[in-house]
């Protein structure tokens, strides 16, 4: 175990080289509907219990199924109205369980990225072969069902191993949504020559945290989203920022919540002169082509670059970095 994951270098949020998004936009804005499957009676993982109560924990289970019967369709209506294409954080087994939802996403030209196979199968304790199997299953299953080559990853239920990000790079992923250290993309320090970046996702404006942890009211959530956006827009004049709204149909789509959410989405997408309303993959592609090298050079020039890769510090640093 390590005290510092060494997945990225410190990079002060001042005087960074300017990012200008396509069309001179200041904020790259994307929405990540989590389209997930939680199993009624999943196998146990010693590191995490899937459900709070003994199986079957019918209320939270069925509430998530409600998302797949009722909720996603409401999110789609709202996103259609606001002209937002989703970047889907996909429990890959949803391809099998609910092809009708996948079809609706494909019809809308939404992007898919992998969020594991089920959100009740955790990466903790996986061998390298098992973790590779999950990644290979994700790539193949999404390609077979939709023709898309997935380029992004959000570990299932945000469960990781020390090798997750190295494997993503090896399998030609472009971005990871697993890290929350910045409001801009940043190169990740992975093994090999491949380029992998961290894509700003969010816990703070993620409806799971809003409703599950902060216990905000729906109108307060809408207000939070708009203020979060206003600030990133202001800062985006200096250098381009990224705003993501991660959503879970089983939370945000309830009839007492979706209306205020729609108000916030209308507000944000009403600023199209300044906002690049896009997908995570398009942000990653643009960043890799235009700003990846610039970022690395700036980190180097500031003397912030440290040797080694994720969970693999350079020998001289490992003595103090290891625990």
């Amino acid at each position: 175990m390590h005290g510092d994951p060494n997945l990225y270098d410190f990079w002060p949020y001042r005087d960074r080289p300017k990012i200008t998004w396509p069309g001179g936009k200041k904020v790259a804005f994307w929405v990540a509907p989590n389209i997930e499957f939680y199993e009624l009676d999943p196998p146990g993982n010693p590191s995490r219990k899937p459900w709070g109560r003994p199986h079957p924990d019918v209320v939270p289970y069925s509430a998530r199924d409600w998302g797949n019967r009722v909720g996603h369709w409401r999110i789609m209506d709202v996103m259609d109205e606001c002209g937002v294409r989703g970047s889907v954080s996909l429990s890959v087994a949803m391809l099998d369980h609910h092809p009708e939802i996948i079809r609706a996403c494909v019809d809308r030209d939404w992007e898919f990225f992998s969020h594991g196979i089920y959100n009740t199968r955790y990466s903790y304790g996986m061998t390298e072969a098992q973790e590779r199997a999950v990644i290979e299953d994700s790539i193949k299953s999404v390609r077979d069902a939709t023709g898309q080559r997935i380029r992004g990853y959000l570990a299932p239920a945000l469960t990781h191993t020390e090798r997750t990000l190295d494997l993503l790079a090896e399998y030609d992923f472009w971005y990871s949504c697993d890290l929350f250290q910045d409001d801009q993309p940043q190169p990740l320090k992975v093994k090999g020559d491949k380029r992998l970046i961290s894509m700003p996702y969010s816990l703070e404006v993620n409806d799971v945290i809003t409703y599950g942890v902060y216990h905000q009211s729906p109108r307060a959530y809408a207000d939070t989203l708009m203020r979060h956006f206003d600030q990133l827009l202001e800062e985006g004049a200096e250098t381009g920022t990224v705003m993501c709204i991660p959503l879970h149909a089983y939370l945000v789509s309830h009839p007492h919540r979706i209306g205020p959410f729609r108000d916030a989405l209308r507000y944000i997408t009403g600023h199209r002169d300044d906002v690049w309303v896009t997908t995570a993959k398009d942000i990653a592609e643009f960043y890799l082509a235009n700003h990846y090298d610039q970022t690395l050079a700036d980190i180097q020039a500031r003397g912030c670059a440290r040797a080694g890769t994720g969970f693999n510090p350079a020998p001289a640093e490992s003595a103090e970095g290891a625990r």
């Binding site: 409600w66 409401r74 369980h97 309830h254 009839p255 007492h256 919540r257």
Partner: protein, 304 residues
């Protein structure tokens, strides 16, 4: 960290539809519309649990929401909950009378046995009764023997029937907790509808090996415990959230030519408090005064 067996990556239910046999996948849009009495666009179904919280709960297999918290004897929580059955419930009955709203009281067997007068007053006011298990410490879960669970069900139905003279055909489990066999055992006991699952906004057929039940929708989020206690929001937000829900559901009902249901659980020991009951009144009145909205009951939802 221990190593996971390779069986952790086998997925026996990875096929179309849910990972159980109770109902098939069915997206809400495009579902055949339900028909509500008086051709309502939005039906308001209010559920009021009448619960008994023993002073000495076992807490097995978990402590029900609202159960005792402090070391024995937790008179603070016992009497706070009992307040609901003595005072809060009557405050709610008065409010429903004022609004002309008929609701469903979910009655636990222990309440029927201990407070038959309350149950008779509910019936006399014209409200519906459904069974709500024996008490909040008699939870249904998979480790119960068949005999034990059947005993919970029968004892509850008999206690309620003894007071009302009518055997309940509807059921909500204490804490909405079930074992894998609970729905089949309810069906076998003659229950026709239940409202433990939160998988839909409309009634759905729910298959069990002992016959089909109707699963009535009952929001797990638009709920006085969830908003006022678990989320600790002020009362005005209950009013706002019910209002926003009504707006959304009415618009959806009209856009899709398919009536919708607004379901709301209110507890006598939560909404029946003096400082909260007006907020509940504002919430309900706000829904009921919208054109096309009115109260509905299980009988309106299970006939189709």
């Amino acid at each position: 960290m221990s190593i996971l067996p390779d069986s952790y990556l086998t997925y026996p239910h990875r096929h179309a539809g849910p990972d159980h046999g109770h109902y098939p996948a069915a997206p809400l849009p495009g579902r055949p519309p339900i028909r509500l009495p008086g051709d309502l666009s939005l039906g308001l179904w209010v559920v009021v649990p009448l619960e008994f919280f023993p002073l000495n709960p076992s807490g097995q297999p978990f402590k029900a929401p609202g159960a005792m918290q402090t070391p024995y004897p937790d008179l603070r929580h016992y009497t706070t909950r009992d307040y609901g059955n003595r005072v809060g419930a009557y405050r709610l009955l008065k409010l429903f009378g004022k609004l002309g709203l008929k609701v469903t009281f979910a009655v636990q067997g222990a309440v029927a046995e201990r407070y038959p007068a309350l149950v008779r007053d509910v019936v006399a006011d014209g409200h519906d009764i459904c069974a709500h298990g024996w008490d909040t410490d008699s939870l249904h879960h998979s480790a119960l023997t068949a005999e034990r669970e059947q005993h919970y069900i029968q004892r509850t139905l008999e206690a309620v029937t003894a007071v009302t003279g009518q055997r309940p055909d509807g059921w909500i489990s204490p804490a909405r907790a079930e074992g894998f066999q609970t729905p089949a055992r309810l069906a076998a006991a003659g229950i026709r509808w239940f409202a433990d699952w939160a998988h839909d906004d409309l009634p759905t057929a729910f298959h069990t090996e002992a016959g089909d039940l109707t699963a009535l929708p009952l929001s797990n989020e638009l709920d006085d415990w969830q908003i006022l206690i678990a989320h600790a929001r002020p009362e005005q937000e209950l009013v706002a959230q019910v209002s926003d829900a009504a707006d959304w559901l009415l618009a959806e009902a009209r856009a899709q030519s398919s009536p919708r249901l607004l379901t709301l659980t209110v507890r006598p020991y939560v909404c029946g408090l003096p400082y909260r009951v007006k907020a509940l009144e504002d919430s309900l009145r706000g829904v009921l005064t919208r054109p096309g909205c009115g109260g509905v009951r299980p009988g309106d939802l299970t006939s189709g």
